[in-house]
């Protein structure tokens, strides 16, 4: 999960240009797609661990990047075991976890403004076909910024459910969550307009 939590640091990865990190991420994910043999997945895992060590990321912050997959991984593994052999199932699941870990490492070591700048530069040729790179990069930053906000709304809704003894009602969770998120989106739109972003 992208937590939006840049962790300040001076490691070589922190100092590396954002564009280079994004390109490296794309290449690494492509390589992960191609790495099907268990030994190559093992090498990739060692490589990812080495990158985290190089970035001097604390174990807790590293774990936070893949923690949201803890429910998804067993389900994926079981489904894969049903349709393919054990080696392939483990390999595919591990490669997904490694890709998420790598993406997390990029957000942990790169300021959002630098990512936005790199994306804007990378997408500048798309101006010719009517794409506004500034808007696209803003959209990305808002998506990342919204993750903790939505998590906060979900937490408040859950507390309210507990207080009223409706812990098990999916409807009592989903309706206020959706309403809360829509209100938040509305307020954010107004705030962007107030800050001159709509002009």
């Amino acid at each position: 999960m992208i937590t939006g939590a840049y962790v300040a640091g001076t490691s070589p990865l922190h100092r590396a240009p954002a564009g280079g990190k994004l390109a490296g991420l794309a290449l690494a994910c492509t390589a992960l797609l191609l790495a099907r043999e268990p030994w190559s997945v093992g090498v990739a895992a060692a490589g990812v661990a080495a990158m985290y060590a190089l970035a001097r990321v604390r174990p807790a912050a590293a774990w936070a990047q893949v923690r949201p997959l803890r429910w998804f991984v067993p389900v994926l593994l079981v489904v894969q075991l049903l349709i393919t052999d054990a080696g392939s199932a483990v390999s595919l699941t591990a490669r997904i976890v490694l890709a998420v870990a790598l993406a997390g490492l990029v957000t942990l070591t790169t300021r959002m403004s630098e990512l936005m700048g790199a994306l804007e530069r990378g997408m500048s040729p798309l101006r010719r076909v009517g794409v506004d790179p500034r808007r696209v990069s803003l959209l990305l930053s808002l998506a990342i910024r919204s993750v903790p906000v939505v998590a906060g709304i979900a937490g408040r809704v859950r507390d309210a459910q507990r207080a009223r003894g409706r812990e098990r009602s999916i409807r009592a969770f989903a309706v206020p969550l959706v309403v809360g998120v829509l209100r938040q989106a509305d307020a954010l739109g107004e705030a962007l307009q107030a800050r001159g972003l709509d002009d």
Partner: protein, 225 residues
Amino acid sequence: MTIEVCGVRHSFESRTVLRDVDVTLTEHRVGVIGANGSGKSTFARLLNGLVVPQHGSVRVDGLDTRSDGAEVRRRVGFVFTDPDAQIVMPTVAEDVAFGLRPQRLSKPDTRQVVDEALSDFGLSSHRDHPAHLLSGGQKQLLALCSVLVTEPKVLVCDEPTTLLDLRNTRRVLDLLSRISQRVILVTHDLEAVQRMDRVLVFDQGRIAHDGPPPDAVAHYRSLVE
């Protein structure tokens, strides 16, 4: 700089929230008070063009919010009640820098402006912290910092202390009293409006009273008691 609100009437669906509002604001500090639903927040949103009136006009420094909204918003900053809704970027420094993007400053210049602003607001030690992990008071200070770094001439604050505890309320109000910008403060805090030069009292979409703070507060009390 003059803000002129002329013959403004505005409705949301079938509910009329502002009726025949006519006022000219020239004072350095203006307070706006009134009960919930009295129209004061909509009035505040008129002043930087977030709400364009259905009838009448709002002019800021001679610019009409209907036709010159972008220019008006460059001159009139806005601070909302909920700081979470207005913090756009993941970290503190990035959120302050975000407001400077239209100015297209160089990286070193942006960094210098941001660092000075964070220092002024006592947020330097939180420079690279995730904005969502700040306390409520710090978030509101960040919201103020992010707006003021763009150097608007007027700052409109819509109940900026409603979600804050006493200590943070004082920090924000002290800050508002120190800044050089003109301030229009919408609030339920009757103590805070005592520092204003002029106070408008809203009731059922109209300005029910307009005058110095003691008289305005007395009038507001008479409306609710």
